[in-house]
Structures are given as structure tokens and as C-alpha cells.
């Protein structure tokens, strides 16, 4: 099996499954903070998916997308914390 095939048929499905499981948590909640961390994890797993995909397709350009995801995913979580704390204090 080639590397690309291995990634396509083993690694990516595993990561896909991880995405799915994480999404289930997001779906279930129950608290908004659970959803927030699920979202954060979803993005981190997304970075991984993109990285692996770029290996599979031999297209390094996708790594850049992963890089932006990794940099910015953070912001969403911070915004939610910011909001929740402000609201919580009220």
C-alpha cells in the first residue's frame, strides 16, 4: 500500500471518525462551554485532517490553510469565554 493510499483509507477515516465523535459532543452539549471546547477540538482535528490531506495529495499549499486554522481557532474560544464571563458576572 502506498503512503497516499494508507492515508486515504486509514488515517483520514480515523480522523473523520474523530471529527464525528467531537461533533456528537458539540451536538449534545449539555453546557455551552462543552460546545465551545468541542468546537475548538473540531478545528484542531480539522488542522490535522488538512495536514494529512496535504500529504496525501502532495499539495503543500493546504498546509497554509492548516496554519491559519491553528492560529485563529483560538480567537473563537476566547470570544466565547469573554462573552460567558461577562454574562456570568451580570
Amino acid at each position: 500500500m502506498t503512503l497516499s493510499g494508507y492515508i486515504d483509507y486509514v488515517i483520514l477515516p480515523i480522523l473523520g471518525l474523530s471529527l464525528l465523535l467531537t461533533f456528537v459532543r458539540l451536538f449534545k452539549g449539555p453546557n455551552i462551554v462543552d460546545r465551545v471546547i468541542a468546537l475548538d477540538l473540531l478545528i484542531t482535528v480539522g488542522v490535522s485532517v488538512i495536514t494529512v490531506y496535504s500529504i496525501s495529495t502532495q499539495e503543500s499549499t493546504f498546509i497554509d490553510v492548516g496554519m491559519i486554522l491553528a492560529l485563529i481557532a483560538f480567537l473563537g474560544t476566547i470570544a466565547f469565554s469573554y462573552y460567558l464571563e461577562k454574562r456570568g458576572r451580570k
Binding site: 458539540l26 455551552i32 491559519i68
Partner: protein, 769 residues
């Protein structure tokens, strides 16, 4: 001739700045224009009576076939002389009647405009040009009727007059355009050639219906007559002018003018006879139940107009000649009566005929005028009215079949009633004893009493010496109506015949009626009991009902609920798309060439759908926002899988920013609303699903079409060689399609500035704009 028409408009404009100088005696100067014009038109009498119509043409909008084509033939001349002649007297009369009125200048401006418009109507040889002036008469009369605009009734009645005549005007316009379209020309003269074609055309009844609507509304035919009595709110000179010779006769003029083009068929005759007949009888009957002098005159005017329509409907040469005569007769005596009434009103302060009597003692010349005009309207021998009446009877008698009996009896009854009305208006105020309250009344300024006297005397003069007018004016006028020459001198004496008998009967019965019946307030009240079935009230109620329906319609449709509006729009789109999708050809359900599906893509798609479900169902705002975040990220992953790194980057950053924005704004919002009940949600769900399904189906249809890739091929080939970039998407953004980007950042900038202003700007109460 253009100058003749335009001078009125010009003077009207000049009165706007200079009107304020028209005070006191100087106001007489205003009459110079109509007098001059009268003289000008008089100078055409010889030529026109010799059969030489005067033509003037000037191109205006040749591309539309609208040109300043004026044509002075017998009919036009008759009307022109009436308009300018009576106009002259009215101008003079008004200078005294409205002496010291603050808005006299404005009054003359309207009056000039009106006169010019009327001249335009009767002189135009182009139907559209005629219509232009036709509408101008409506507008200028609107201003004249509402001249006393502080008075609510005055405003209401002028609005009513405008509504009726204006509404008819639009219908008329339709008719005229249709005529013009079918005959290929808007020139009346040229339409004569295609009259057979028009009459045979399937749309001929439609043309007639539209033209009749225009004429009936303008000439106050039943059931559109009710605006006219209301229009009596105008100052008396206006009433005299509008209702004796001009405005209301425009409809008559139109019918007469178009007779050679459209007339002479059953479609023409019967509607006119029926409507004219009902009108003349109905209004004549009504006129005897009035006590207000102007009311009496208004209804008798309507009745006279009915007679004219009736005559034009009959359409024989005799009838048309009778119409021509009656136009002149009526103009003279009605103007005289109106002006007399004006003086009475002006001096005594009342127009109530039950209170007025014995005024001959103080207003002698007017008594003469009233008497003469009254007699003329009564049709006493040696008055012009007598000739008119004779001709009418003659015309009705000479129609074919069973018609003569019916028509003639109609005419006789009408004339009896009109006679009564004429005597009531012309005679009653001056006979009997003078009440003490009127004792110190004295004759007004001579400019106020000479015009009615002059008009009344003219009536007698024409009656005594019909040759003054017949071949010069009336025959050419009738000739113009039938588009053939006529030579039929008017005779005072026809010998003893049926006509004379009828005339006599009319006179006697009318006189008896006058002597027997005294006008009283009681009769007015009695008549008022039938108001609720009068056309005015029925139409009023219809209008009210229509307004109410309009309100209900508008409020139902435009109910303030945004979601209902959106639902409407979406249902509309669904309806159209579904209709087109499922009609006229097969719907493709599968895609011919499918790329492979991989597990992780499916998972991403599944997550997207799951997130969508969460978005739609969650009761928590934040969860919904997190869920749309997920949707965005899934799309981002799809973009990565399908070779769009730039898109993925942008989608992701923007998605994150949107989430941040939402989160920042959601502070303090109360709990998420979920008011919609289950059935509404199901309804919306069905609508939404239908829409989504249609979009999907359309996508499938499109995917089955081969795609032309020339343009993207070009970009790929030249991105580096010509535009020096390797990321083709970016090259498109900054070069190939850079203009999109340029203005897309403008959109962003506007949004940002908008946000800034929306949140920072606090208007003060003093900020008015």
C-alpha cells in the same frame, strides 16, 4: 392660432408674478385678452362660413404623432366664439364681482389657463393634443372650483369634480390612443378617412365605450352628473363660465367632433340616446326640487347637456343642427341666468329662491335680463330658445320607427320641467313684493349687470333675427359634425304643425306648473329622502367600500410581519420554479458523471447536516452560533478537499470573525424566542424543504449540462505569462477581475463606517432633516 391658444397660457403665467398689481379698476385690463381673442375669431367668420377651414400646423413630438395641429372649422369657431365671447363678459364681470379679493391675480391666472385650455380643446385637430387640453381644463377647473379653498365643501367638491372628470379623462385617453392606433394617425382630419375601418373593427365598441366615458363624465351625464351641482361651490363667474359655455360642453364638443369618425352606428346612437334621455329627464325633474338658485341652474344645465347628448345620439342632420343651435341658445341664457344669480347672491346674500322676491324694484336691469333669459329658456316665440326647441322637436319627430313617440315625449316632458326651472330662476326673484330686508339694496357696479343684460338681449336678437347666426355660424357648425356642407337657414315660423303644437303645449304646461307650484324647503327635504339611492350616494358608498377594501387588502398584505413578507417572496419563487421545473420537459434526477465519495468527505457532510439540525432546533442562541460555526468549518474543509485553499482560508477567518461578532453582540439578549407553534414550524419546514429540494434539483439539471471552460482555461494559461502571478485565484482577484475586488472592499468599508455611525451617532431632538 397657436398664439391664440398660447396667449392664455402665457398670461396665466404672467399673472403669477404680476397678479398682485391687478387691483381695483385695473382688473378690467384682464378682459382685454378675451376681448381681443373674440375679435380675432370673429374675423374668421366669413372664411369659415364659406367652408374654408383655417389650418395651422407645427411639429411638436412628431415621433409620437403629436403635433400642434389646429383647425378652425364651423364647430370650432362656434365654440371659440362662445369661449372668448362669454369669457370676455365673465372677465369683466369678475373684475367687479371679486373686487378687492386678495387672490384676484391668481383667479385670473386660473381663468386664463382655463380659457386657453378650452380653446385648445376646440381647436385641436389631433386627438392627443385635444386630450392635452382636455386634461388642462380638468386641472384648471379644479383650481377654479376650489378657489375658496378655506371652505371644506369647496375642497371636497373640487376634488370630486376632478376625480370624475379626471377618471373619465384616462378612459378617454385609452379610447383616443386606440383610435389612433387603429387608424394609424392621431390627426382627426386624417381619421375621417378610416371611419369605415374603425366602425367595422372588433374593437369599435371598446373605443366608443372609452370615448363615451370621457364625454359623459366631462359633460355630467347620468350617472356621473353629481359632480356638477357640487362644483357650484365655485365663485359665480366661474360657474357661469364653466357650466354655460365651456367645460361641460367639452364632452358635447368631443362627441360632435368625433361624430364623423365614429358616429352613426347603433353602437353610437342607442347609448347616447339612453344616457342623454335619462340625464335630461332626471335632472330636469331634480331641478324643480331645488330652492338654491345655483342648484336649479346646475340641474337644468345637466338636463340641457342631456338634451345635447340625446341629439347627437339621434345623429340626423336635423338633430345635429338642433344641437348646434341649442348649444348657442343654452350658452346665452344660462350664462345670463348665472350672472344674474351672482348679482342677487352678491347683493342680497342669499340664493334661496323661496326668500327672494320683488327684486325688480331695486335691480331693474337685472330683472330684464332675468326675464329675457328665462323666457328664452322657456322657448317663448321670438326668443332664440323657441327656435332651439322647435328644432329639437323636429329632430325627434323625424327619427324612424317607433322612436319618435318615445323620444318626443321625453323631450316634451323635459322641456316643460326646464321651462319651470328657467322661470323659477329668471322670473321668481323679481316678481312679487320686495321684502323689507332687501329694501336698501341698490344696483351694483355696471360691469356686473351689463353682461347678463347683454347676453339676454343677444338671446332675443338671435331669436328675432336668426339670420344673424344661422348661415354664418350654426350651419357650418352642424356641417362640421357631419362632415358635409349644410345650408338650412333658421326660420322663426314653420307654419302650424305638430312641432308648433308641441311647443305650445310645453309653454302652457310649463307656465301652469310655474303658477301652481311654489318652491319650498319641504320639497327639498322630500327629495332628500331619495338621496340614498342617488348615483352620488351609490358611487360614494362604492368609493367608501373600495377604500375600505383597499385598506383591508393593504393591511392584510402589508401587515408588518417581516416573516410573512419573506414567506410570500419564497412561496412566489417556489411556485414559479416548481411550475417551470415540472412543465415542458423531463426532469433529470441523476447526475451523469459522479466523482468518487470518500468516507471522510461523507463524515464532513454528515456533520454539516447535523450542525444544521442543531442550528434549526436548538433553543440556545449560543449553541446556534456554535453550530453555524461548525457549518462554516465544514464548508472550509470541503473547500480544502476540492482544491480551494484561498477559499478555505477566507471562509475560516471570516467564519470565526462572524462568530466573534455574534458573540459580542448577544450580550444581554433575553432568552431565545420560540413563539411559533408546531403547525407554523411545520408549515415553514415544508416551505423550506421544498425550496431546498428545488435548488437541489436545479443543481442536478445544471450539472447535466456540459460546461464551457474557455475562460478559466485562458486564466490558467496566462496567469503567469501575462499577469505575473502563479496563484490564479489571486491573479483573478487583483488583476483579471480586479474591479470586483476594488468595489468589494468598498462594500466592506461602507459596512464598517455604517457600523461605526449606527452605534456612535446619537441624534439630538434638534437634528431635524
Amino acid at each position: 392660432m397657436l398664439i391664440a391658444v398660447l396667449s392664455g397660457l402665457l398670461f396665466s403665467l404672467l399673472y403669477i408674478p404680476f397678479g398682485k398689481y391687478l387691483k381695483g379698476r385695473l382688473a378690467v385690463v384682464a378682459a382685454l385678452l378675451p376681448i381681443g381673442l373674440f375679435a380675432y375669431f370673429c374675423s374668421f367668420i366669413p372664411a369659415v362660413s364659406a367652408g374654408n377651414a383655417q389650418v395651422f400646423q407645427y411639429p411638436w413630438i412628431p415621433s409620437m404623432g403629436v403635433n400642434l395641429d389646429f383647425r378652425l372649422d364651423g364647430l370650432s369657431l362656434l365654440f371659440s366664439l362662445l369661449i372668448t365671447g362669454i369669457g370676455s363678459l365673465i372677465f369683466l364681470y369678475a373684475s367687479a364681482y371679486l373686487k378687492g379679493h386678495p387672490y384676484l391675480g391668481r383667479f385670473y391666472a386660473y381663468l386664463c389657463l382655463f380659457m386657453a385650455a378650452m380653446l385648445g380643446v376646440v381647436l385641436s385637430d389631433n386627438v392627443l393634443l385635444l386630450f392635452v387640453f382636455w386634461e388642462l381644463t380638468s386641472i384648471s377647473s379644479f383650481f377654479l372650483i376650489g378657489f375658496n379653498n378655506d371652505d371644506a365643501a369647496s375642497r371636497k367638491n373640487s376634488l370630486m369634480a376632478l376625480a370624475v372628470t379626471g377618471g373619465g379623462g384616462f378612459l378617454l385617453m385609452g379610447g383616443l390612443v386606440l383610435m389612433g392606433h387603429l387608424s394609424g394617425t392621431y390627426s382627426i382630419r386624417e381619421m375621417f378617412a378610416s371611419n369605415e375601418f374603425l366602425k367595422a373593427h372588433a374593437l369599435y365598441p371598446l373605443i366608443l365605450a372609452l370615448v363615451f366615458m370621457g364625454a359623459f363624465t366631462k359633460s355630467a351625464q347620468f350617472p356621473f352628473h353629481f359632480w356638477l351641482p357640487g362644483a357650484m361651490k365655485a365663485p359665480t363667474p366661474v360657474s357661469a363660465y364653466l357650466h354655460s359655455a365651456t367645460m361641460v360642453k367639452a364632452g358635447i364638443y368631443l362627441l360632435a367632433r368625433l361624430y364623423p369618425v365614429l358616429g352613426g352606428t347603433d353602437w353610437w346612437t342607442y347609448p347616447l340616446i339612453v344616457v342623454g334621455g335619462i340625464t335630461m329627464l332626471y335632472s330636469a325633474f331634480h331641478s324643480i326640487f331645488r330652492t338654491d338658485l345655483k342648484g336649479i341652474l346646475a340641474y337644468s344645465t345637466i338636463s340641457a347637456l342631456g338634451i345635447l347628448v340625446f341629439l347627437i345620439g339621434i345623429g340626423t342632420t336635423q338633430a345635429l343642427l338642433a344641437a348646434a343651435v341649442f348649444i348657442l341658445v343654452h350658452a346665452l341664457y344660462k350664462a345670463s341666468l348665472f350672472l344674474t344669480t351672482g348679482v342677487i347672491d352678491h347683493e342680497t346674500g342669499t340664493r334661496d329662491v323661496t326668500k327672494l322676491s320683488g327684486l325688480r324694484l331695486v335691480l331693474m336691469p337685472l330683472a330684464v335680463a332675468g326675464l329675457l333669459a328665462g323666457l328664452s329658456s322657456a322657448g317663448l316665440p321670438y326668443t332664440f330658445g323657441f327656435i332651439g326647441k322647435d328644432l329639437i322637436y323636429e329632430a325627434t319627430l323625424n327619427t324612424g320607427g317607433a322612436m319618435p313617440v318615445i323620444l318626443t315625449s321625453l323631450a316634451v316632458i323635459t322641456n316643460i320641467l326646464l321651462l319651470y326651472a328657467g322661470l323659477l330662476a329668471g322670473l321668481k326673484p323679481f316678481t312679487g313684493s320686495l321684502p323689507s330686508s332687501f329694501a336698501d339694496i341698490h344696483l351694483p357696479h355696471w360691469l356686473m349687470w351689463t353682461p347678463p343684460v347683454l347676453l339676454a338681449l343677444l338671446g332675443i336678437a338671435f331669436g328675432a333675427f336668426p339670420a344673424l347666426a344661422d348661415t354664418a355660424l350654426l350651419n357650418p357648425a352642424a356641417a362640421a359634425m357631419i362632415n358635409e356642407s349644410i345650408d338650412s337657414p333658421l326660420k322663426i315660423w314653420h307654419g302650424f304643425n305638430l312641432v308648433l303644437l308641441l311647443s305650445g303645449t310645453t309653454l302652457v304646461l310649463g307656465a301652469v306648473l310655474y303658477l301652481m307650484r311654489k318652491p319650498s324647503a319641504a320639497s327639498v327635504t322630500w327629495m332628500a329622502r331619495f338621496d340614498h339611492i342617488s348615483p352620488k350616494h351609490i358611487m360614494g358608498r362604492t368609493v367608501q367600500y373600495a377604500a375600505k377594501s383597499a385598506a383591508v387588502y393593504t393591511k392584510t398584505l402589508h401587515n408588518g410581519y417581516l416573516r410573512v413578507y419573506l414567506l410570500c417572496i419564497i412561496l412566489f419563487a417556489i411556485g414559479l420554479l416548481a411550475f417551470r421545473l415540472f412543465t415542458g420537459g423531463p426532469v433529470q434526477w441523476t447526475i451523469n458523471e459522479l466523482g468518487p465519495v470518500t468516507s471522510y468527505e461523507l463524515i464532513v457532510a454528515g456533520i454539516l447536516i447535523g450542525a444544521m439540525y442543531l442550528t434549526v432546533t436548538t433553543p440556545s442562541r449560543l449553541a446556534a452560533i456554535a453550530a453555524i460555526g461548525v457549518i462554516g468549518y465544514c464548508i472550509c474543509l470541503l473547500f480544502v478537499f476540492y482544491s480551494a485553499p484561498d477559499l478555505a482560508m477566507t471562509q475560516f477567518t471570516i467564519d470565526t470573525l462572524t462568530v466573534v461578532l455574534f458573540v459580542l453582540v448577544l450580550f444581554k439578549l433575553p432568552p431565545f424566542l420560540n413563539f411559533a407553534n408546531r403547525s407554523v414550524r411545520i408549515r415553514d419546514g415544508v416551505v423550506a424543504t421544498c425550496f431546498g429540494a428545488i435548488i437541489s434539483l436545479i443543481a442536478i439539471q445544471v450539472l447535466n449540462e456540459p460546461t464551457d471552460k474557455t475562460v478559466s482555461q485562458y486564466y490558467g494559461d496566462n496567469a503567469y505569462l501575462l499577469a505575473k502571478g502563479k496563484n490564479v485565484v489571486n491573479v483573478i482577484l487583483v488583476d483579471f477581475r480586479g474591479m470586483d475586488t476594488m468595489f468589494e472592499i468598498v462594500v466592506l468599508s461602507i459596512a464598517a463606517i455604517g457600523v461605526y455611525s449606527l452605534l456612535k451617532l446619537r441624534l439630538r431632538a434638534s437634528d431635524k432633516d
